[in-house]
């Protein structure tokens, strides 16, 4: 395929491009919480929640190929750990994040035990059942002393009091006011940090030896085992890690909303499907896929959320959705999911990789450039044997 520009990876042009992308991202990240409207900040924070959850699912499904429809349960474990510890035992909300992480890790490893023997659709079935059981388990009468039953738990949020420090920089306060007014930027930053942490963990795993063994398990588990990948341990750890990372945004949602119930959308199977949709639309098996997917998803859901009456729909879309009694968001993404499987199984990121080549091709560094002299010597030796 011909491309307009060709640049070398690691060269000046490539670094300039990376810097430009980073600068735009940084500018956006500063502009939204300080200058953006309250509703925009809210939308972004929700998008961060979805990003982190979809990233964690991506590690398990996109890279290791283990289907999970039970991530809403892990998300819910985070939510309820925070809610219970804050209200029953008086912990500070942010101190519960590591506890939620560890607890979800343990549950994830336990769930992976049957997953070691079964695979494919059966694993999907088991995790789907897990996702169905979780809300019922929370609402179980025997546990209502802890979880509050079907009523849920109130006052789980961060307490904004007069004693909180303000952390101002020269009178300017980018994180919002922790003493009570204008608290939305604060959650924005917490969300951004959680996404960053989850992204870095995923990146660290994916770019390491473990990540390569995950891809090997996905592509051919028998061959991976033959090549020396320890299947049970690798699957168990990746299951636990994925569950643990999914609990972090769950905790954030408890801290942010202040009320938790077992019927919240993200805690039911609908939540699992949402994470899956985001991951597939963005691009399974790529680090940026879930991030882009969540941004697109939240944007479209937010835009079309009010389209329940024909008059509320912009004239351009009215002929398509005017008949619908509910908002079209769910249906749009269902159609997108099916269509993507036909045209671009690797999602938006896959589409971008496929078509951006026409505009600009980045030539990767040849492998092993540091030991170039050894590589150069090797073919010569082969030639000698031939001539001899």
């Amino acid at each position: 395929m011909k491309s307009l520009f060709t640049i070398k990876s690691g060269g000046a042009a490539s670094w300039a491009m990376r810097l430009a992308v980073a600068a735009v991202l940084a500018a956006l990240m500063l502009w939204v919480p300080t200058r953006g409207s309250d509703s925009l900040i809210e939308v972004c924070t929700t998008a961060f929640t979805l990003m982190a959850a979809a990233l964690s699912l991506n590690l398990l499904l996109g890279y290791a190929g283990q289907i999970s429809l039970g991530h809403s349960a892990f998300f819910g474990i985070g939510t309820y750990t925070t809610a219970v510890m804050v209200t029953r035992w008086g912990w500070s909300p942010f101190h519960t994040l590591p506890v939620a992480f560890v607890l979800a890790f343990v549950v994830g490893v336990l769930v992976s035990l049957p997953a070691l023997r079964i695979k494919g659709v059966y694993l999907a079935l088991v995790t789907l059942a897990l996702g169905m059981v979780f809300p019922q388990f929370i609402k179980w009468k025997k546990l209502s002393w802890l979880t509050g039953g079907a009523k849920g738990i109130n006052d789980t949020g961060f307490k904004f009091t007069k004693d909180n420090p303000t952390y101002e920089i020269f009178g300017w306060n980018p994180w919002g006011n922790l003493r009570g007014q204008n608290v939305k930027p604060f959650y924005f930053w917490v969300g951004a940090i959680i996404v960053l942490v989850v992204y870095l963990i995923c990146r660290g795993v994916v770019k390491s030896r473990v990540g390569r063994s995950l891809v090997a398990i996905r592509d051919n588990s028998t061959a991976a085992a033959v090549m020396g990948v320890n299947l049970p341990v690798t699957k168990g750890i990746v299951f636990g890690l994925s569950a643990a990372m999914c609990a972090l945004p769950g905790s954030l949602s408890a801290i942010r909303t202040g009320t938790v119930t077992a019927d919240t959308q993200l805690l039911t199977v609908a939540g699992s499907i949402t994470f899956l949709v985001i991951m597939v639309v963005g691009g399974a098996g790529s680090l940026w896929g879930p991030i882009i997917g969540a941004a697109v998803y939240q944007f479209i859901i937010e835009r079309t959320g009010g389209w329940t009456e024909p008059d509320a729909i912009p004239a351009l879309f009215r002929p398509f959705f005017g008949w619908s009694k509910t908002a079209p968001g769910g249906g749009l993404f269902a159609i997108a999911l099916i269509l993507l499987m036909f045209v671009a199984p690797l999602g938006l990121v896959g589409l971008w990789r496929q078509h951006s080549v026409r505009l600009c091709r980045v030539v990767p560094k040849p492998a092993g450039t540091t030991t170039i002299s050894v590589m150069a010597a090797a073919p010569a030796a082969v030639d000698e044997t031939h001539t001899a």
């Binding site: 289907i67 049957p114 789907l128 899956l276 769910g330 249906g331 269902a334 159609i335 499987m341």
Partner: protein, 307 residues
């Protein structure tokens, strides 16, 4: 004793519905090796359609046949237009497509009929409750050993038994059944001996969706209303039934469905700490236990892996 009999028959009646849906899952799995996650939603769409036919004044006996016709169409469309083309790519793509279909159908139900429970006088429903296939007034029961067994329960169980008998006849005594079994056991060889595998596969999806439609109508009739979340848990119970019976055995689906219904009702009734709300937990445990101990289920054939 009366209570035990009562609970067992109630369990059998509930299990019959699971058996209907499990049958559909098994028929599709046998033919293509795919687990159809949209099966419950396909059934729900047909249940909504039957409600609509009722609104138009069509009696339930005819409406349910028309509903099965709708299932016939939905099943064929899903197989021909969606599943078959992506099946060539990967099993993962099929999984995603069935999930997409699940979400699309659920959204479509809400978009057409609204998010509330139906029938609902608030949105102008003419029917008072969802049409039931069997007489379901309070006086419609027979006393057996002091237990009050409703005609509805007996009718549902009878329906499943009759349907199973018909399917057994079709699968084992007709050319079509032979072709279906041939495709299930080896699609390539079946093609070589002149069986139109594509037609057979499409037909299995159609039959499965039509049986599922019947299951959806019975479920809605038992609940006396239809709503978007009606089939979520029923689908899990049906999957548990198919797992217990073995995913490639229609007989297993029926036995598994009835067994799951009875197990659930007895544990929910007698084991006090399980209670009604943890019924789905019982199904979860059954799925996990069967897959761990005997992945092929009670009547299924064990899969041999070749490298």
């Amino acid at each position: 004793m009366e209570l035990f009999l009562q609970r067992t028959v109630d369990g059998l009646s509930e299990g019959s519905v699971y058996a209907l849906l499990a049958l559909g899952l098994v028929i599709i799995y046998r033919g293509t090796g795919h687990l159809n996650f949209a099966h419950g939603e396909m059934a729900l769409f047909c249940a909504y359609a039957v409600y609509q036919f009722g609104e138009w004044g069509i009696p339930i006996g005819i409406a349910v046949v028309m509903g099965m016709g709708v299932g016939f169409l939905v099943g064929a469309t899903a197989e021909v237009a969606l599943v078959r083309p992506v099946a060539r790519k990967s099993a993962f793509a099929v999984f995603i497509v069935t999930i997409g279909l699940f979400q699309f159908l659920n959204w479509l139900d809400g978009a057409i009929w609204g998010g509330q429970q139906l029938p609902n006088t608030g949105v102008g429903s003419k029917q008072i409750s969802y049409p039931s296939l069997f007489p379901s007034a309070d006086t419609d029961f027979v006393s057996i050993f002091g237990a009050e067994i409703t005609i509805k329960s007996l009718g549902t169980i009878g329906l499943v038994l009759v349907l199973s008998a018909v399917l057994f006849f079709v699968f084992n005594r007709t050319k079509l059944g032979l072709a279906m079994r041939a495709v299930a056991s080896n699609a390539d060889s079946a093609k070589l001996v002149g069986i139109r595998t594509n037609t057979v596969l499409m037909l299995s999806w159609r039959i499965a969706a039509a049986i599922g439609a019947l299951g959806g109508v019975v479920t809605a009739g038992n609940a006396q209303s239809v709503s978007q979340s009606l089939m979520f848990s029923v689908f899990i119970y049906a999957s548990a039934a198919a797992t217990l019976g073995g995913f490639d055995s229609p007989l297993g689906a029926v036995v598994g469905g009835l067994a799951i219904g009875v197990i659930q009702n007895l544990t929910a009734g007698y084991v006090e700490w399980v209670g009604q709300e943890m019924k789905v937990g019982v199904s979860f445990l059954v799925i996990v236990a069967v897959l761990l101990v005997k992945p092929s289920g009670l009547f299924g054939t064990a899969k041999v892996e070749r490298v």
